[in-house]
């Protein structure tokens, strides 16, 4: 295990080391200590490295991640795993706003709660939140899955496209063009798969599915009050 303390090493040096690291199969993982809310920790990784961060991180941790498996043993700031392409990012604590924003792939697991706009503009990423999410989560979500095991805040899935949202608790309100949809056997099995991959056990019967009513896909004068 390589250990890097951010008290002694800059984020820039850390990220350069992580990007140059050999793939995990043959190489030991990385442990990052003393992050103390630093921004862009482990951002832009490209290889199959394993990174464990002990402590809280600031904005854009694991931003645009490709292939790496990153675990934060703490809370994280805005935009964790933003625009992630692949790999897995796990937050053992809570995540601030815009977690997984515009993520294209891979999996983001937030074991605690997520702030507002979780999964905003998501484009294929799978996000599993163990607790609650804040308002406007799944805003303009295009594709991928957002699983919220607890309650969802106001305006869930506002202007959603083809992403699928599963909520285990209650949704305070739904945003424009977001509707509840039938939980088919196919969706139950997808949800089960998502939860298993996230390492979470939950009662599937509590979950409801939400998605797009597709009424805003083309401008129509009779829907003008929804815009």
């Amino acid at each position: 295990m390589n250990t890097v303390s951010l008290s002694l090493t800059s984020v820039r040096e850390l990220n350069e080391q992580l990007r140059g690291a050999p793939d995990a199969g043959s190489a030991p993982g990385w442990r990052v200590t003393d992050p103390k809310g630093a921004h862009a920790v482990a951002a832009g990784l490209t290889g199959h490295v394993q990174v464990q961060i002990d402590g809280h991180v600031g904005y854009y941790c694991a931003g645009m991640n490709q292939h790496a498996a990153i675990t934060v043993d703490g809370h994280c700031g805005t935009g964790v795993a933003e625009n992630m392409m692949s790999g897995i990012v796990r937050i053992r604590g809570n995540a601030s706003q815009s977690a997984g924003a515009s993520g294209h792939g891979g999996m983001l697991v937030i074991e605690g709660n997520a702030g507002p706009r979780c999964g905003i503009s998501m484009k294929g990423i799978d996000i599993v939140v163990g607790g609650k999410t804040g308002h406007m989560s799944g805003f303009m979500a295009q594709s991928g899955n957002l699983v919220i095991c607890g309650d969802a805040g106001h305006d869930l899935g506002d202007s959603i496209y083809e992403a699928v949202i599963y909520v285990g608790g209650s949704a305070a309100s739904l945003g424009a063009d977001c509707v509840e949809k039938e939980m088919t056997p196919k969706h139950r099995s997808r949800l089960q798969d998502l939860l298993s991959r996230a390492g979470m056990e939950r009662d599937l019967d509590r979950f409801r599915r939400f998605g797009s009513a597709r009424k805003l896909y083309h401008f129509h004068v009779d829907h003008a009050d929804s815009y």
């Binding site: 984020v11 645009m64 805005t78 294209h104 496209y161 401008f219 004068v221």
Partner: protein, 439 residues
């Protein structure tokens, strides 16, 4: 021979023909008008300024012999690999989706030949444009359509788009008729639906966040690439200062005359300020922070000729960017295929129908038949010729004012023809030393 109408028919100034037609259209459809191109209203602009030329106190340079350099470097503040351009005219961001692949390729080829940069747009980077453009600026937009760290790394500079002159405060629109399978695939959206891109970035708001966002982008790209921040002209004094504070290497300022592929007409015509006052405010903001020329300023919105470029540089810009004018060089609004202009309800010279996807000259279309009308080699040749002509015009003016580099042009070389332009540009009214608002 003029006909005197005995009935004395008199059009209304308040309700001219185009206003009447718009009210009739709105009554019919119950929705605002969406269109392409840019503002059509008269605005104070570069035409309201003139150069003084050399005289007893300034010596001109020989028109064809003495050197007048045009090279500029962008991104010298923090990036380890600044952009070196042979000419101070770049091509503005225009998306694949709004433009067809042939138009993008033609632009890339022309820019490479001229030693300048082209820019991606909302929808990501295409292979064709990366291959054809030696220097390519990659836009990071609120929608993040097609946003990919690999493309970020193979770009030569990064442009964070906060706003656009045609619609400061608005997101993009791409109507369903232009969303082909390829465009939809690049944007992760179903084919054929209206795409309304976000107007705010999903993961930052405000200058403090932007500083952290820029830090992240630099981390991901090894602190090599210049980071531009593009703003629409609304409050340049504050926006430029905040972008500098956030760590921008280059500011791109797009005035109200900037074009768009599809935006509400009300937005195009009624939001934002013209390029002339915005440019002056931006330069003053940079000077107040003592970073003029250290943080480079690229200005766009209504640049059409070498004279416009010269005036923008003389006011303090480091380079300009053209979008609409480049499209015109590619054939936009040319009087060919006239029946196809008529089929979409317009005529050459009046067209603003980019939003329809039925561009008669193959520039802003995804339709294979229409797109074939613009061959990339031909388009590249036209754009190259146009840029060459602009540069010759620019050098002509610079030499006439005694400058051996176009960046040596200065406000003192100019006079304003109208009180409005004098006030907005901060240039004395011709024949006086008077700048309204300054004594």
């Amino acid at each position: 021979m003029a006909v005197v109408d005995p009935r004395g028919l008199r059009p209304s100034h308040t309700f001219p023909a185009h206003v009447l037609a718009e009210i009739h259209r709105a009554a019919d459809q119950g929705v605002y008008e969406i269109r392409g191109f840019g503002t059509k209203r008269p605005l104070p602009g570069f035409d309201d300024l003139v150069f003084l030329g050399a005289s007893m106190s300034r010596y001109p340079l020989e028109g064809y012999r003495e050197r007048c350099d045009t090279g500029v470097t962008l991104g010298t503040r923090f990036a380890s690999r600044p952009i070196e351009l042979k000419i101070p005219i770049t091509i503005a961001g225009m998306s694949f989706g709004a433009l067809g692949a042939n138009a993008k390729e033609a632009i890339g080829r022309a820019c490479t030949a001229m030693g300048t940069s082209s820019t991606t747009g909302d929808g990501g980077m295409t292979e064709e444009e990366r291959q054809s453009s030696e220097t390519l600026v990659y836009q990071v937009l609120p929608s993040r359509y097609g946003m990919n760290p690999d493309d970020l790394r193979r770009a030569d500079a990064i442009e964070i788009v906060v706003g656009q002159g045609a619609k400061p405060g608005g997101g993009g629109v791409l109507l369903g008729q232009k969303i082909t399978e390829r465009v939809a695939g690049m944007r992760d959206l179903p084919e054929g639906i209206d795409q309304r891109s976000a107007c705010r970035h999903p993961d930052w708001t405000g200058p403090d966040d932007l500083a952290i966002k820029i830090q992240e982008l630099r981390e991901i790209t090894g602190w090599e690439k210049p980071v531009y921040v593009k703003i629409g002209a609304s409050r340049p004094t504050y926006d430029v200062a905040l972008a500098v504070k956030a760590g921008a290497d280059v500011i791109v300022l797009d005035g109200m005359q900037g074009g768009t592929a599809a935006t509400q007409d009300v937005f195009i015509e009624h939001v934002g300020i013209p390029t002339l006052p915005a440019l002056r405010q931006a330069v003053e903001a940079l000077q107040a922070l003592d970073v003029h020329r250290e943080v480079q300023l690229v200005v766009s919105g209504g640049i059409r000729s070498g004279a416009d470029v010269a005036k923008a540089l003389a006011m303090g810009a480091d380079a300009v960017s053209i979008g609409s004018a480049a499209m015109v060089a590619l054939g936009c609004n040319k009087a060919v295929h006239v029946e196809d202009y008529q089929a979409i309800g317009t005529e050459p010279g009046y067209c603003h129908h980019c939003h329809t996807g039925r561009c008669p000259v193959g520039v802003t279309t995804q339709d294979p038949v229409l797109e074939a009308r613009l061959r990339p080699e031909q388009g590249a040749r036209w754009l190259r010729n146009y840029l060459t002509a602009m540069i010759l015009e620019l050098q002509t003016i610079a030499r006439a004012n005694g400058k051996s580099h176009v960046l040596n042009l200065e406000p003192e070389d100019m006079a304003a023809l109208t009180v409005e332009a004098a006030a907005m540009a901060g240039i004395p009214l011709a024949g006086t030393s008077w700048i309204p608002g300054k004594g």
